[in-house]
């Protein structure tokens, strides 16, 4: 530990701590604009200058590490004057005219810094150096006139996301933020994650949806989790008058540590589907508005005779965007009480079915944790495109590449991560098993196996590879050497593996993982990305079989706010009686016999089990419109009218099956 004195207070901190962090720990506030907890110190704004005894001039505390016996002053008259001058320089350099900025009055870190120094004005004349405003992006606006060149956005784009779209062009007073080589943002390599907007201290990057809809003090902030996919990022939902205004990543969330992708940050604000608020009943071939009571009794009359009929009763499907509590009531009603053999999810177990079967076979979880990506030195992505979905997991991979992570992409199709990969393995379709077997053979042949190798003829396998797959043995050997020598290899896989009809590829993957030490006793580097927010919970509840109408006389779809797939709609067209419980109108509600309006994601509370087994609670931030009921209210109302009792013991249900990844309730 290192001992130092800041403003007369003696504290002890670990070596390498910056003066700024040390001061924070001691409860001493040092103003700063470019510093950010999640970003590498940059020392750009100069506002955090401090005086150190023995030093000739003040230094930036964000970049200066502590040393033994250091004596630091943070608030001398000289420093206050310097800070005021630094702020004056910042204000006078560009368009920092507060009255016409959307952040004025509390949300602007630059304005707040000036107010904290007691500045009534800046005493320097303003430079009228102007920049054009970039409004080409669908989700946010870049205004260089408001930029203070703190580079938080540049660092967020590179360090947090690994996208490196933003940079600074020109020099001196002409320095400006640009995307790529000065492309309009909307036509650049930007992936619309918006993390740059979230870190911007001024109004240089503002998002279109929330601009001028209220300052932070005017908005309600609800911490929750994103249910855009199974990663389970922590979010803060900003609302006003029961309207969603903005979504930000929660810096304190364990999964994402603040970052989000466009699916989590911007897409929910683009919702344009028609909201359902009235139950509807098909009468004389037409869907007509009705009361809740009539709609429920119409369902009950239809379903009552189907109780206990396993194969020709009522089939039921639920969205994996529903919380565990709702899924449990759903399962209890249809699988336990109606005893239907066709109770599943709209994902039909494609992302999880094989995993659950494998966990049952192995009698223990075998998948690892997402955070192993933060320390991995080699990642294999197979059967998954981490840009199309689960994008934050993709960010974890992308941002680690500059620190030396080697990426191998195995995908017969073009994959968005191909350009970043050390190796891309593109073979003919359906050769994953051959590739994985050849990799094992090569690992063994190169004498790099970390577990006892399977009994096979490595040379023969490798020799037959080019004929089967069109791949070169040399490439496979190089990849095998990479995997075999990696300190911490991680294999990420997706539906390319789990949605297959057999588990041969998954078995091969597990064998390869064992061989390269990615699946040892206390650590697993095998991670499947699964699908929607509650894919894993649905699997734990056994809602993971392929859907078939069979002889069922009725189908109940608890769709929630999900999008029904075309394939599902086609199969449900043949249903003799179809109930759809949905938040929004869709081609599926159009063919239903009864439509029940239900709350959407931001209106419900409930638990979600993310892809690596983390149990998290989502909170409602909005009130459902009158007329839309909660999922659980509907299931309970139906059960009551049918004189059935349904179980709400969701926690017990989650543990009834061996999970493919250990459930973590913390």
């Amino acid at each position: 530990m290192i001992s130092l004195t800041i403003d007369g207070k003696t504290i002890e901190v670990t070596p390498g701590t910056t003066i700024l962090r040390a001061a924070e720990m001691a409860g001493i506030h040092i103003p700063t604009l470019c510093d950010h907890d999640e970003l590498t110190p940059y020392g750009g704004c100069r506002l955090c200058i401090v005086e150190i005894q023995g030093f000739r001039i003040p230094v930036t505390s964000c970049t200066m590490p502590v040393s033994q016996g250091m004596v630091v002053q943070t608030n001398t008259a000289n420093l206050r004057a310097s800070r005021e001058q630094i702020l004056s320089l910042l204000f006078s350099e560009r368009n920092h005219f507060c009255p016409f900025c959307q952040l004025t009055g509390g949300d602007c870190e630059l304005q707040n810094a000036a107010l904290n120094e007691g500045m009534t004005h800046w005493p320097m004349f303003t430079s009228w150096n102007t920049f054009s405003v970039d409004t080409s992006h669908p989700f946010f606006v870049l205004d260089n006139n408001r930029c203070i060149l703190c580079r938080r956005c540049v660092r967020a784009c590179g360090e947090l996301v690994g996208n490196f779209t933003l940079g600074v062009a020109e020099r001196g007073i002409h320095s400006m933020l640009v995307a790529d080589s000065d492309q309009p943002l909307g036509e650049s390599s930007c992936i619309s994650c918006g993390n740059c907007v979230q870190v911007c201290p001024t109004g240089a990057l503002i998002d279109r949806q929330s601009a001028y809809r209220g300052l932070e003090k005017d908005l309600e902030i609800t911490p929750s989790i994103c249910i855009g996919c199974s990663v389970g990022c922590g979010v803060k939902l900003f609302t006003r008058d029961n309207q969603l205004v903005r979504i930000e990543g929660d810096w304190n969330a364990p999964v994402n540590c603040g970052i989000l992708c466009k699916t989590g940050r911007f897409k929910p604000l683009e919702e344009s589907r028609d909201r359902l608020t009235t139950p509807m009943l098909r009468l004389d071939g037409e869907l007509q508005p009705t009361s809740w009571d009539e709609a429920l009794w119409a369902i009950v009359d239809h379903l009552r005779p189907l109780i206990g009929r396993k194969e020709d009763g009522v089939a039921a499907l639920a969205s994996t965007r529903l919380p565990v509590e709702s899924l449990t009531l759903f399962k209890s009603l249809f699988a336990d009480r109606f005893q239907s053999s066709m109770v599943t999810s709209v994902e039909e177990g494609r992302p999880t079915g094989l995993l659950a079967a494998m966990a049952t076979e192995l009698r223990q979880p075998f998948e690892g944790r997402l955070d192993s990506l933060h320390t991995a030195d080699c990642v294999v992505a197979i059967g998954v495109n981490l840009v199309e979905g689960h994008e934050v997991a993709g960010f974890f991979v992308k941002r680690a590449i500059p620190r030396g992570l080697k990426l191998v992409v195995i995908d017969p199709q073009p994959n968005d991560l191909d350009p970043l990969a050390a190796y891309t393995i593109k073979a003919v379709r359906g050769s994953d098993v051959d590739i994985l077997l050849a990799l094992q053979a090569a690992v063994v042949d190169e004498d790099l196996a970390k577990a006892s190798p399977p009994a096979f003829d490595a040379e023969k396998i490798l020799a037959s590879l080019p004929g089967k797959t069109g791949l070169q043995v040399r490439t496979i050997r190089e990849v095998a050497r990479l995997l075999g020598t990696a300190r911490q290899p991680v294999i990420l896989f997706g539906k390319g593996i789990t949605a297959r009809s057999d588990n041969e590829t998954l078995r091969m993957l597990i064998k390869l993982a064992r061989l390269i030490g990615a699946l040892d006793e206390d650590h697993s580097g095998l991670i499947s990305v699964k699908g929607e927010a509650n894919s894993l919970a649905a699997a734990q509840l056994g809602l993971d079989q392929p859907f078939q109408l069979n002889g069922n006389k009725a189908v109940f779809v608890a769709l929630g706010d999900d999008y029904p797939s075309q394939r599902l709609i086609e199969r449900l067209e043949k249903a003799p009686f179809l109930v759809v419980q949905a938040s929004y109108a869709s081609p599926l509600t159009e063919i239903a016999n009864v439509v029940l309006p239900v709350e959407m994601w931001a209106e419900q509370d409930g638990h979600y089990l993310n892809l690596d087994g983390r149990l998290q609670l989502a909170h409602h931030a909005l009130r459902a419109p009158s007329g839309a009921w909660a999922h659980r209210t509907i299931f309970t109302a139906l059960a009551d009218r049918l004189s059935l009792s349904i179980s709400s013991n969701w926690k017990e249900e989650l543990y009834k099956r061996v999970p493919s990844v250990a459930i973590n309730e913390n």
Binding site: C98, P99, G106, A114, H121, T126, W128
Partner: protein, 180 residues
């Protein structure tokens, strides 16, 4: 001792700061008891006393030669000059114009406006003042007290006036200091 004289005027602004001044409501009686309110845009006298006033208050930025004249006159006739509101302090909303050239602004205002017919033309009578870049008051004359805000809150204005009329220089901080 006679009561201190105060006078105010407005330039390139929206009159909002003077409206906010009126928002001090009945407290204006207190100010009138403390001070002799002379020429203001909302009293009958239109120019500050040639013999001088103690406190001069100016709202608005300076965007033409007429504003310059107002500023110079007030400065020459008052002991303490107050820049009231964001326009007087920084240039404010009118300063948005500075991101364009004067020619562009005039063309937009007098020729290209949607409601202007084909005969629109930029006024150029020598009797008229000439437009300039929009400036804060301090770019033209020395300022003693800056009161930012768009507009400054009535409470802030009352505090400033009561301090000045009692011979003190107001110190704006914490709740009284806003730039919005």
């Amino acid at each position: 001792m006679s009561k201190p004289k105060i006078s105010s005027d407005w330039m390139a602004g929206c009159a909002g700061c003077h409206m906010s001044l009126l928002d001090i409501d009945e407290r204006i009686v207190t100010i009138a008891e403390l001070a002799d309110i002379r020429a203001t845009p909302i009293t009958d006298l239109k120019e500050p006393d040639a013999g001088g006033v103690d406190v001069g208050i100016l709202e608005g930025g300076i965007n033409n030669t007429a504003n310059e004249e107002v500023a110079l006159r007030m400065r020459s006739r008052c002991k303490i000059l107050v820049a009231l509101g964001d326009c007087a302090v920084f240039g404010g909303v009118p300063a948005m114009r500075n991101f364009f050239t004067l020619e562009e602004s005039l063309r937009r205002a007098y020729i290209e406006t949607e409601s202007t017919d084909a005969e629109g033309k930029i006024p150029n009578d020598p009797e008229l003042c000439r437009p300039t870049k929009v400036r804060g008051l301090q770019e033209v004359v020395p300022v003693d007290v800056f009161v930012p805000g768009c507009p400054p809150d009535a409470d802030v204005i009352f505090y400033v006036l009561s301090e000045l009329t009692q011979g003190r220089i107001p110190e704006l901080k914490d709740n009284l200091l806003h730039w919005d």
